[in-house]
């Protein structure tokens, strides 16, 4: 390490990060020379817990992995289970309800991200505007499922609830409202000179790097890579809809992979999701919404099943995968692996952050729409010796007690 550089930790809990994670920057003046991302702060061992429960219990556990992307884990887990068991024939109506829920969630997730991005830039009026608009889709989700988060909609062999015809006009009303407001939101984000100045050319990711590091979701599409599971490998009702991945250059923008391109991709995906939901509502076939209504029978079918499956779903943040292995005459999952979208974007993060100014770190970090957790340790760098020590809560407790003792004297 040259004499001119110094280490600068951000995290695990820091106002610049919406969720706790740990970055260690090597700085030269105000410029980031190197960065080490240290996740795992809130590794709760969900897979460990899931392997000790039966499939239907784990289905609900999977939903609780993340509070924002409530259904993406449930969707990927359901797909993996169905592909492992190979006994469920998912009704066509259920396939349409599944994608309606998934797209409604993409709407709320992208609008949430838009607000966070505006906040990171110090544009709080826009934060409040995007989140006000987001409330409408939350209402729709509540009308369909009864909940604003954790909708509990997916089930092996279909969905848990139907969308009855009388609810459809209410959903369409909200979609129309969105179409009216979309242009205003797009003009503000894409036309504002301050936002442009803060985001164009900041945190770039080249197309070559995006492909090499297997980056997923809007992060990779902003660099011009045509990766979208709904398009590459259409599953459920996505197979009936002609979806094109949103690449900035198809809409007259540059495939720069910078923060601006990320905003472009997510905003256009909001419009795309509205179109998909409208198509699905209009073309939803009639019929049953679940293959097997009896819960005990479903459990028996899963108990008899023997096999492995890999479910992939295009979550708002990108490709989301679950691997499930079932063994005959065993209630528990034999193996379970959860792969969230942010996991594949960690390496892209490093590429994006190097060469940035420290003031841009928070918006660059937010540009991949990270979804993390919290941790129990802090890295302390001694500025005099350059030595580093990891302090745990035990150390902090000890230091705290010592300080109290000192003050008593």
């Amino acid at each position: 390490m040259a004499d001119t550089t110094y280490t600068f930790p951000i995290g695990p809990v820091h106002p610049a990060l919406k969720e706790p994670t740990m970055f260690k920057f090597v700085m030269d003046g105000e410029v980031v020379v190197d960065v080490d991302v240290q996740p795992g702060i809130n590794h709760r061992g969900i897979e460990f817990i899931g392997m000790r429960r039966n499939v239907l219990q784990t289905l609900h556990l999977a939903e609780r992995i993340c509070g924002i992307c409530s259904i993406v884990h449930q969707y990927a887990f359901t797909l993996a289970t169905e592909r492992a068991a190979q006994v469920f024939e998912v009704p066509e109506r259920a396939q349409y309800i599944r994608i309606i829920m998934a797209e409604l969630e993409r709407l709320h997730s992208h609008l949430l991200w838009a607000g966070v991005a505006a906040h990171e830039l110090g544009f709080d009026t826009l934060l409040h505007l995007s989140w006000k608009i987001r409330e409408d889709v939350q209402d729709v989700l509540e009308i369909i499922s009864g909940n604003r988060v954790n909708y509990a909609m997916y089930y092996p062999g279909g969905v848990r609830r139907d969308i009855p015809p009388e609810k459809i006009p209410r959903i369409k009303k909200v979609l129309d409202h969105y179409k009216e407001n979309f242009q205003m939101l797009a003009d503000t984000f894409l036309g504002d000179p301050v936002i442009k100045h803060r985001t164009v050319g900041v945190g770039t990711l080249s197309k070559k790097d995006a492909i090499a590091t297997s980056t997923v979701g809007p992060t990779t599409r902003a660099s011009g890579v045509m990766k979208d599971v709904r398009f590459d490998q259409p599953y459920d009702a996505y197979a009936d809809i002609d979806i094109k991945p949103v690449i900035p250059s198809n809409y007259g923008f540059e495939d720069a992979g910078d923060v601006y391109a990320n905003i472009v991709v997510r905003l256009i995906e909001v419009a795309q999701s509205i179109e998909i939901i409208e198509y699905a509502l209009d073309n939803m076939p009639s019929g049953p919404y679940r293959a097997e209504m009896n819960v005990n029978k479903v459990l028996m079918m899963l108990r008899k099943a023997d096999g492995e499956g890999f479910g992939i779903h295009e979550a708002p943040r990108g490709e989301m995968c679950h691997y499930v292995r079932l063994k005959e005459n065993q209630d528990n999952l034999d193996a379970w692996k959860v792969r969230a979208s942010t996991y594949n974007n960690i390496l892209a993060w490093q590429k994006k952050l190097i060469g940035q100014q420290i003031a841009d770190v928070s918006i660059v970090a937010a540009s991949i729409d990270p979804c993390i957790g919290c941790m129990d340790r802090v890295a302390v760098v001694d500025s005099r010796t350059g030595k580093e020590k990891i302090m745990t809560d035990v150390d902090f407790h000890r230091l705290s007690v010592e300080k109290t003792k000192r003050l008593r004297k």
Partner: protein, 179 residues
Amino acid sequence: MKVMNGDEFASYIKDRFGNNVLSMRVDKFKNGVKKSEFHSVWLRVDRSVFKDVMRAITEIHDEAHIAVASGSDLGEEIEIIYHLNLFWGERNRQLTVNLGVRCPKDDPHLPTISDLIPGALITEREKQEFLGITIDGIPDPRRLFLAENTPEGFYPWRKDEDQQEKLKKLYRDVHEEGV
């Protein structure tokens, strides 16, 4: 890049690696009202040819996408399955390849694939710490998710008989340290 469907891919690998391919299955899934189909290939190969198979896959599609590597403890052996997506970039062309390889617990070594697909680094680091295998030639062997004070020799996804004891001891130690 030569685009193949699941059956073509399976027969290509089978022709090239013969008896070192231990098992093979092609799953076909129909979707939507139009019943369009996509394929998913499940392969198990011998450890001696694993790196060659991976190289053959990257020769077929040099921009192969690694989704994740999942791993599990099978008792005497540890199995790692690499989930790859090939031929992305065109509508309904993607082929999912699930390439499984096993290594015995007394010799838990696998070669790295991050030289072929750099994106595999994160998942290889995770497999090392959670299953206690060694990825030979990994560019960054540090832990990823586990806390640095997790004791050596404790691997959360192992299903060994003394695993529960180790886990209880881990909790007891943490408790006694006064957390």
